[in-house]
Amino acid sequence: MVHGSGGKAMAQLIDQLFLQAFSNPYLDQLNDQASFNLPPGKVVMATDSHVISPLFFPGGDIGALSVHGTVNDVAMSGAVPKHLSAGFILEEGFPLADLKRIVDSMAAAAEEAGVSIVTGDTKVVERGKGDGCFINTTGIGVVPDGIELGGDRVKPGDKIIVSGSLGDHGVAIMSLRENLTFETTIESDSQSLHDLVATMVEAVPELHCLRDPTRGGISATLNEIAQQAGAGMQIYEEAILVKPQVKAACEFLGLDPLFVANEGKLVAFCPADKAEHLVEVMRSHPKGAEAAIIGEVTEDSLNFVQMQTAFGGNRMVDWINGEQLPRIC
């Protein structure tokens, strides 16, 4: 990829690439903006910039991830995601073949998620001023009538449900980035959760809150909600699914799976009397096949998140400020 005089030709090439891959009636109008109507209901919008190294990893790539991340952020409100925008920042010299791979993967992810990429933009920065490829996506969706989710709606007594295994994404990325070899390959869990969410809110509209435990892992999510809800959380290590290879890798690396990022899992907070039913519904969906109740919201003025360990002890699931520093003194 070149910059300057020859840049124009290249820009056209890239535009062509996008148009072909993302083709949809809104984009194809080739206006500077997309215009569309939305079905009735509350509109939600979310944005996320995706910066990840490496760009391609087992279980996904930055393209799919940039769709999944934003689709999930929109979906966690209970909304049906509708449209996405995509902004690319490319480093001069980035291979076109890689870009094509990323764009195709984005298109496939968007199609799977039922969203169209309706507007976009590309900028090329000088060599050394970017890390290959950054993607920003903004998503818009509509919440069905009667659904209202939020951290402040969470109540003591609510059950905490997780849709599947934890830690896959973070450990997969780290292993690959650092070229660590384990006996088995660990795959990222990157996926859109819109359809799982739709099934859940339809079956249990009384649901209180949904979150995707991305950066900071489930620990950050639970602590955030505990503060928002003015409550505590009690979870049980034995109820939490961590794949054996992820667990082993975490042990060797000295990571806590509860702090590791996920990209295709959600945490639900649900009134206790609906929890069993919700888990059943989730399990009937492929993306929630391993859903389980991992704990409950407690009355606690100190807003502690605590976990009963497999040994029967109880430990704090802390809110870590930034990077995890060793603490054992």
Binding site: E178, N179, L180, T181, F182, A249, E251, F252, L253, G254, L255, L302, F304, Q306, T309, F311, G312, G313, N314, R315, M316, D318, W319, I320, N321, G322, Q324, L325, P326, R327, I328, C329
Partner: protein, 782 residues
């Protein structure tokens, strides 16, 4: 004969310990008239008599062995007063309205007078499990609020019967105002419950019978429950380990008397005196080999031993001795020895409530010895190391807490109170008021939610008991300790400033505070790890301390911790990092490769991934223990370091100190550890290597410190940090350094993180004092 009068003000721990009756009896004996009362800061006496009578009075008041057992006099000031005509009695007068009572005294073991009664069949308290007097019994553990009156203690539900009431009201009686006093007809009672829920009319007999059958009994004591079994029954001790999921952490052992303890541990005059203290702590003493099954304290050269502290314990030994009359049996060796371990689930605080015990210990205990005197404040057993010739506090709990430390006069007049919340492990809090700092009992490790709650409760309870509203709250620099989060929230809720203090500076300041030293000095902090001023992980530091400021002038070489905190639990990881640094292949360290995960750790080291570096001395001990294959994985904190120390003691029992040329050298501001580590990998004999390590470390530290002393023209050094619980290191280093410098070590409080809160408070007060004097805010990080 001329009559004179004196007004005497006594400050210190003088309320709620029988000080007024002591003064009353003393005055009457000497023929002095006047009165005594509790005042806002202690006890006030107006005494009138002849010049020689007054001299005698003052002398007796200041003689420690005449004072009540639990009294601690900080200061006594006598001023001339006008004599009053017509005064012909000495009286205890009621305290002034609205006075601030300072009667937060620690709990005390049952006294000899009470023991005499306990085993006297003619005494009305014969075999009464809750006998006590003004000189003994529970205090801190049962006070709910102040003033210290029965109504404000957990004894409130028990109305005194008429004989008890008589004793309580008579100044001459040794139970005058003994708030927890009771007898069988009016006081608390024991109850036994089997796992099947069945009770037994003979609780002591039932509990003892179970233990004699190798079973485990949960026994409610003063500050909480113990899990107890026969120390001589290895199966019973192993069962306790299995059920408590505590594979190797040493258990303490209780014996009926010194004669019984002598058969299992090496006693000395000093150790005996310490064991007999009214705080009745667990004392770590060198163990007599093969006296008890190894499973009691696996691999260690020492054993934690203690004497009974409640009448309940005495009654168990008494029953085992076939219920002799009188106390002569307490001078004879008894065969029964008991393993006594805190009753808690892994990491949780000690259990204090009956219902909690019955529920949480159901899978551990085979029976429960309960009673209906509630425990208000949890207090773990205090632990004191007496492995070498001096005593070091390992943990401040029952009998010691809250520990009152007198502050230097320069800080007294500030009129500000601070709350310091400590660090992470073995946490305590500290509150200051006037001329005193109060350090709480051991709260526990703050990775456990119940210990974190315990922190909040202790802050609230002590603030209320001491009537303190903090003007400033102090925390560690580490942002992720629960104590730091608590401090942030507390500062916000109470609209007061928050100050953060570097961990090792706090360690040194705690020792300095104990010794009331002013002026610049050197501080050696050998510790686990703590966050440094530069965001790095410190722990083997040489600091230059001037008041609230400190400067890091040197540190140990940095070791990598592959896997972060995980490496602290798995010393083999640190040893692998050291080998990686040394870049050597040695036959002697082949054992490291057998660890699961070795290959991944090698990758972490090669890529420098999740390998935080630390100058921690504690991690150096870990590295050496694993290099020598003494311990690869720790089951409890400092496990590997303790086994390393034990191995050195063991070697030195029959060998002289290894003599090799010095290998620890100072380069720039770094104490370089690599040549010593390299030499250790070549040693064939672990015992020799362990002793060599200690020797070299001591010698290296001595030149490190003395050189710095010369450079900065400083002659005082404070030794602080958890590594100084290593008695071999402490005693050797102290002995050699003392030839050249003034050496300060922790005495009233532990050298480990249990004293961080005191150091934080001390630094904060000094910073406030500077601010006060100079109106100079520089240096105070609010």
């Amino acid at each position: 004969m001329s009559i004179y009068a004196k007004q005497i003000e006594i400050h210190g721990q003088v309320q709620g310990v029988g000080f007024r009756p002591f003064v009353f009896n003393l005055a009457n004996r000497l023929g002095i008239v006047g009165h005594v009362a509790n005042g806002p800061e202690g006890v006030s006496i107006f005494a009138q008599g002849s010049s020689s009578q007054l001299t005698d009075l003052l002398e007796s008041l200041q003689t420690a062995h005449e004072q009540p057992t639990m009294a601690k006099v900080h200061s006594l000031v006598a001023t001339h007063a006008e004599a009053v005509r017509g005064l012909d009695t000495f009286e205890i007068v009621k305290s002034a309205e609205g006075e601030v009572d300072l009667a937060v005294t620690p709990d005390a073991a049952v006294c000899q007078d009470c023991l005499e009664e306990l085993f006297d069949p003619n005494d009305r308290r014969y075999l009464y499990p809750f006998i006590n007097c003004t000189n003994c019994g529970p205090r801190y553990s049962l006070i709910k609020s102040l003033p210290y009156d029965r109504a404000n203690t957990t004894m409130a539900p028990f109305t005194l019967c008429s004989p008890c009431d008589q004793e309580y009201k008579h100044p001459e009686n040794r139970r005058f105002h003994a708030q927890p006093t009771a007898c069988a007809s009016c006081g608390p009672s024991l109850k036994f419950r089997g796992v099947d829920g069945k009770t037994d009319p003979d609780p002591i007999g039932a509990a003892l019978a179970l233990m004699q059958q190798g079973k485990i009994v949960a026994i409610k004591g003063i500050g909480g429950f113990h899990l107890v079994c026969d120390a001589q029954n290895p199966e019973a001790v192993q069962r306790l380990r299995d059920r408590k999921q505590r594979p190797e952490k040493p258990f303490a052992v209780m014996g009926a008397n010194l004669e019984s303890l002598r058969s299992i541990a090496e006693l000395s005059r000093a150790r005996e005196e310490r064991l007999k203290g009214h705080d009745a702590p667990i004392c770590l003493c060198p163990k007599v080999e093969d006296a008890l099954p190894d499973v009691v304290a696996p691999g260690l050269n020492w054993l934690g031993i203690m004497l009974p502290h409640t009448p309940i314990h005495y009654l168990l030994f008494h029953r085992a001795a076939q219920q002799p009359t009188g106390t002569a049996w307490l001078k004879e060796q008894q065969t029964l020895t008991l393993v006594m371990t805190s009753a808690n689930l892994s990491g949780n605080p000690l259990i204090t409530q009956d219902e909690e015990a019955l529920k949480q210990l159901a899978h551990i205990a085979d029976g429960f010895l309960l009673h209906n005197r509630a425990i208000e404040t949890r207090c773990d057993d205090s632990v004191i190391s007496m492995v070498s010739s001096q005593a070091s506090i390992v943990r401040s709990g029952r009998g010691l807490a809250p520990t009152r430390v007198k502050l230097p006069d320069s800080l007294k007049g500030l009129g500000k109170s601070v709350l310091a919340v400590g660090a992470f492990f073995k946490n305590t809090i500290c509150l200051t008021k006037g001329d005193s700092a109060y350090v709480s009992q051991y709260i526990g490790d703050l990775d456990n939610p119940e210990c974190c709650r315990n922190l909040s409760e202790t802050v609230a309870h002590l603030c209320s008991l001491l009537d303190i509203r903090p003007d400033l709250v102090v925390a560690d620099l580490h942002p992720d300790f629960y104590s730091s989060r608590f401090a942030r929230e507390y500062a916000q809720a109470n609209q007061i400033p928050l100050m953060q203090v570097q961990h090792h500076h706090a360690h040194v300041a705690a020792v300095v505070c104990e010794h009331e030293i002013d002026g610049d000095l050197l501080g050696v902090a050998l510790d686990g790890l703590g966050l440094g001023d530069d965001g790095q992980l410190w722990g083997g530091e040489l600091l230059k301390v001037s008041g609230h400021r400190s400067e890091r002038i040197a540190h140990f070489s940095k070791l990598k911790m592959p896997g972060g905190d995980r490496a602290a639990r798995e010393p083999w990881r640190i040893a692998s990092a050291a080998l990686h640094e040394l870049n050597i292949e040695s036959e002697q360290v082949i054992h490291l490769k057998e660890n699961e995960g070795y290959a991944v750790v090698q990758q972490l080291l090669e890529k420098n991934l999740n390998c935080p570096e630390t100058s921690s001395a504690g991690r150096l001990f870990d590295a050496v223990a694993a290099l020598l294959d003494i311990k690869q994985r720790s089951d409890y904190e400092a496990h590997a370091a303790m086994l390393l120390e034990s191995a050195a003691w063991q070697y030195l029992k029959s060998n002289p100190w290894p003599q090799e040329s010095p290998l620890l050298k100072t380069e720039g501001n770094e104490l370089v550890i690599w040549p010593l580590l390299q030499r250790l990998t070549e040693c064939e004999d672990k015992g020799y290597a362990a002793a060599l390590f200690h020797r070299q470390l001591v010698d290296g530290l001595v030149s490190w410190v003395t050189q710095a002393g010369e450079r900065y023209n400083l002659t005082t050094v404070a030794l602080a940090g958890g590594c100084f619980l290593n008695q071999l290191l402490l005693s050797e280093l102290q002995a050699v350094l003392a030839e050249q410098m003034q050496v300060l070590v922790a005495q009233k409080l532990p050298c480990n993180d249990g004293a961080i809160s005191l150091g934080q408070a001390h630094i904060a007060l000094q910073a406030l004092a500077v601010e006060n004097n100079d109106k100079n805010r520089d240096g105070l990080c609010v």
